[in-house]
Symmetry: C3
Subunit: 294 residues, 3 copies
């Protein structure tokens, strides 16, 4: 089975100006804390090394998620697209929009989808001012995505905002209930609200969880894994969140986890395909235009 | 030792119009998610099969909890009473009241207790509008029950309301502190707030926990079980929440858990007796009128 | 390596009037619930027996934390100082201030530090009225401590206030972010918000956790321990919270936990030294005046 890494940020142009590359020491400290070795590709900011690491790991496709966040830096969508286009078939671009400007966000979403982006990403806790996920100012964006069947990634786990309330599972629960046809992937899996977000996922079929590096040596990981190997097996997304975790080191570790092969295969590939509304053939989706799920 | 299943909803009259029987596919999906086999008695909506399942499992008594909930459907108290009366000695009736109407609720509570109901059940998150457990509009009902020594079941775990906030452990903590002589059983055990509700139970001696099917293969279950086998052993209530879990399959699974025999016996029987304010002899309480605990 | 017990309340003068000694039965019930034997020194209110228990356990130094709390009782700072002075080199005094009176608190803090106290303790949830940790009325006190490099202990776990909201990890997260140079030790470790406070500690380097007796047989302890043996090893503080746990019995139990020797040594001694801003030699700090960390 092919493998999709659902969250990769290459050391390329605008990405290099975001905190994850600028504050390299802090980033490597996090990598060590989760008991993994920092990737040399991250440390040396080398795209060729990153590609080689993907090859070595056996990662077929990376989902490239940019950023439009005052606090954590921004990456222009054109940069994301350019990077993906220049490595045909290896990467899927996700467009980031400014969640505090609903009109511009709607235009950006339409433009992004019409030019080949596969999903939209927002990081409301990093806006200025920071927004909670159920802030009413985000509702027009949610409606716009739901109406157009555009899947949405929300960074609402870990250091998602100025304090812990920006990862609140209550708030995301409300959004999922108010937009039942909007597929939402929670990047960082609303960690550390593990038991709570698992309840929300149990209840809301439109929620996908991608705890990525907060799964490794972090509180609550056992509960995430038990769900991943049972009722959440078809909505758990595999992601390294490179450069925070090494692409290969994280995959090696992930494959050692107690998840049965059938579920492991889904998590490493099929769930991302379904979330993104793509067809089941990698050859097809590499060239096909964005299509709504039937 | 005899066994009491603290939450059973038979496939009888008005129960058949509530979502748990109407949306059978959803219900069976939940049963599968918690890794149990749906009960044929539930699927075929057969009271005789349910009784046979109880016999086979060795369940002596079932606590029949109705429902007065806009969102999840309602069952008339007369139906609950009629069912219990027609199977003398096998069932204990619990009356449900509309938590949004304090005057009618007080009348209904008085009527229920005078006619043989043993406890009162409310589901405030399912009201219209939904109420949080510490909503001031519920306080007259809490006071009414406390003053009359009527034990109260509150459905405040799992899908208790439109969003996760309706299972908030903070809110129930306040109620327990404000009504220290009111015995409250949390149906679904405020899941998924496992660590938090265990703190509340550690602190408030008037709280009983009944996580029922959210114990099976769900996040936090290890912590529930450790408490059940130690300091919470005398306030943990066994319940299948039939038809969501099968009566026999759930009991078989529950008995396989690492709970010492002394505590297991309490949980399967004695705690329900004490919560309901009944005497220790099943023969007695089958006929005795409702009596306040000394 | 020497050992510091970060939270000891001796059976001495004013301490005997606080609930932990007055309500002895309740206290011993808690001790039993966490599966430890009550200390005879606590039960017999004997300082010599407590000292003998420390000797037997091999505890070199106890941090004596008083109390200024309407709900739980108060101990005059002079009593704390007098006790520590009369057992030269065995105890470190911590001054408690009334968190609801900022002007008096500032005076008390200055007086305390100038007379040899090593840290300040507040219990805002026990005030009248109770205060949450991010209440704006506390901000002058936080600023006062931060500006003077005075480490602060906040009792914000367990029964810290009238309800569970007084242990909210969101609120403490805000305080830690607003006062990045203020070292805060969370007494009782914000239990039961284990996963959440671990996230906060992962994010905020100025937070130290001291779950003390809520670690023993309580929900979430595995997650506390995994963090203590990895990325939190240099900010986890050992404390018995005597008289709730026995000094020796708790240490024996703690040393049996799966924490590697290198981290165990830090937790039993070095972290308290660093939190208190003391030098690394017990002989030195026993007589040295309070000094700011470089």
């Amino acid at each position: 089975m092919p493998i999709i890494d659902f969250r990769i940020r290459p050391p390329y142009k605008g990405f290099l100006n975001t905190t994850m590359y600028v504050k390299a020491e802090r980033r490597d400290g996090i990598t060590s804390s989760i008991q993994l070795e920092p990737s040399p590709a991250a440390q040396q900011k080398s795209v060729p090394m990153m590609l080689a690491e993907m090859d070595l790991a056996g990662i077929d496709i990376g989902v490239v998620v940019g950023r439009n966040s005052g606090a954590l830096g921004s990456v222009d969508n054109n940069t994301v697209k350019e990077f993906c286009d220049s490595h045909q078939g290896r990467f899927i671009p996700v467009a980031s929009v400014d969640p505090s400007d609903r009109k511009q966000a709607a235009l950006d979403i339409d433009m992004a989808i019409s030019t080949g982006f596969r999903a939209v990403n927002i990081e409301p806790g990093g806006s200025s001012p920071p927004l909670h996920t159920d802030d009413r100012r985000l509702y027009p964006i949610y409606a716009h995505c739901e109406d157009r069947n555009v899947p949405l990634i929300i960074m609402t786990g870990g250091n998602a905002g100025p304090d812990l309330s920006y990862t609140s599972p209550d708030r995301l629960d409300r959004v999922l209930g108010d937009f039942p046809d909007l597929r939402i992937a929670s990047a960082h899996g609303n960690w550390p609200w593990v038991d709570q977000i698992l309840h929300v996922a149990f209840r809301r079929q439109n929620l996908y969880l991608s705890p990525d590096y907060f799964l490794s040596n972090m509180p609550g990981s056992d509960d995430f894994l038990k769900a991943a190997d049972s009722w959440l097996a078809d909505r758990f997304l595999y992601a390294s969140a490179f450069p925070f975790a090494p692409i290969k080191g994280y995959l090696d570790w992930f494959r050692s986890l107690p998840i049965r092969p059938k579920n492991m295969d889904r998590i490493l590939y099929q769930n991302a395909i379904e979330f993104l509304g793509l067809t089941n053939s990698t050859t097809t989706f590499r060239t096909a235009p964005f299509e709504a799920r039937p």
